[in-house]
């Protein structure tokens, strides 16, 4: 099996779902109060994204094009239910923290977007790599946002205290307004680099 790095890296950098395409914003802002939550949410989405891409790519010729969207949603909803039940059983504390955002993976636009624009047109293997790439891109963004908010908001990273006496953590960054401001500044920084690159 040849690993298709191009398909993988595209989802992580060039077409990063969060910072370039602005998809799946609700969990991006909702659960990233700490780095661990960001990773967990990212991996949960990665799981659903890989499987949904593979399954949809497998059955793409069986679905009449008129009802393809409802069919995709059913596939995704089934996978999310599987994820929900297994998380409840094996990681109850994580399930508590992520709460409503686990069932809401169903309506994460990244997953439906990849199904419609990629998996329905490409081979099973490439769809899998596309799923891995986009899932990792999403996980990476969530982890970055989560880390920044955790450091600024509670002075910790992955639960370890790291900025002890450097500054007083500003609570606002783990509250909802901090989420908007963090991602706004990150987007501006990325834009800055893009402008430099294009000049």
């Amino acid at each position: 099996m040849k690993i298709n790095f191009r398909e993988i890296s595209r989802g992580i950098f060039k077409e990063n779902p969060t910072f370039v395409l602005f998809l799946g914003l609700c969990p991006t802002l909702g659960v990233t109060t700490s780095a661990v939550n960001g990773i967990a949410m990212g991996l949960a989405t990665l799981f659903v994204l890989i499987l949904s891409n593979v399954i949809i790519s497998m059955i793409k010729n069986l679905i009449p094009s008129k009802i393809r969207i409802p069919a995709y949603i059913m596939v995704i909803a089934t996978l999310v239910t599987v994820l929900e039940l297994s998380m409840k059983a094996y990681f109850p504390s994580l399930y508590e923290v992520l709460g409503i955002f686990i069932p809401l993976i169903v309506v994460n636009c990244i997953i439906l977007g990849r199904a419609e624009s990629y998996a329905s047109k490409n081979s099973i293997l490439n769809s899998m790599f596309d799923g891995i790439g986009n899932g990792l891109g999403f996980t990476l963004s969530l982890t970055v946002i989560g880390s920044i908010r955790e450091i600024l908001g509670s002075g910790k990273l992955f639960g370890l205290s790291i900025v002890d006496k450097l500054f007083d953590p500003a609570m606002i960054f783990i509250l909802p307004p901090g989420a908007f401001i963090t991602i706004g500044v990150l987007v501006a920084i990325i834009n800055k680099y893009k402008q430099k690159g294009s000049r």
Partner: protein
């Protein structure tokens, strides 16, 4: 029926637990259609309509179909199916009976299926163990809060078009910062 609790649910869904600013639900349309006041009002109305309807239908199905048969684990699948067909139905009904309304809301309706606020409110209603009327109130008030947030941001973004924003912040960056400041106001910081 406890009127006090009902009023509490309505006020908290509109302001304190605002769907956008404190629950982070429905952010994709929030950033996507908040460029003009007109389109954000249209989107808000369509969401209000579907969310109120979805809250009541999902409540009925959950109470009289899922719970008696011990099928609660199928909640996510059932709810998304209900919402998707409801949106389709509303689209067909408005197209047939009120072409004017369809013209105003038509473009927004297909987007609503993947608006997480709709599925979100259905799940919250079940989690909070709301009664039928309370569920409807929470759906309606949640959507009103959503519309309020959308229209306020659209108003600000319309003015931002003409103001001197640093180049890197232009567009979505400044919209996020604005939303952050609005969230502070809603949060009462």
């Amino acid at each position: 029926m406890d009127l006090g609790k009902l009023i509490g649910i309505i006020i908290s869904s509109i302001l304190i637990n605002n769907f956008i600013f404190s629950r982070f639900l429905g952010l994709c349309p929030f950033m996507g259609v908040s460029k003009k006041i007109e389109s954000s009002l249209g989107m808000g109305m369509a969401v209000t309509f579907v969310m109120t309807l979805a809250s009541s239908v999902t409540w009925i199905v959950n109470r009289y179909v899922l719970i008696p048969n011990g099928l609660e684990y199928l909640q996510t699948i059932t709810f998304i199916l209900i919402i998707a067909s409801l949106v389709q139905f509303v689209e067909m009904a408005t197209e047939k009976f009120s072409p004017n309304l369809y013209k105003a809301l038509g473009v927004f309706l297909p987007l609503i299926t993947t608006n997480c606020a709709v599925l979100g409110v259905a799940i919250i209603n079940i989690k909070e163990e709301y009664s039928f009327v309370e569920s409807m109130a929470s759906g309606f008030a949640g959507a009103v809060g959503f519309t309020l947030a959308l229209v306020i941001l659209a108003g600000i973004r319309e003015r931002l078009e003409y103001s001197d924003v640093p180049v890197s912040f232009k567009g979505i960056g400044i919209a996020f910062i604005t939303a952050g400041i609005l969230a502070m106001a809603f949060y009462g910081l």
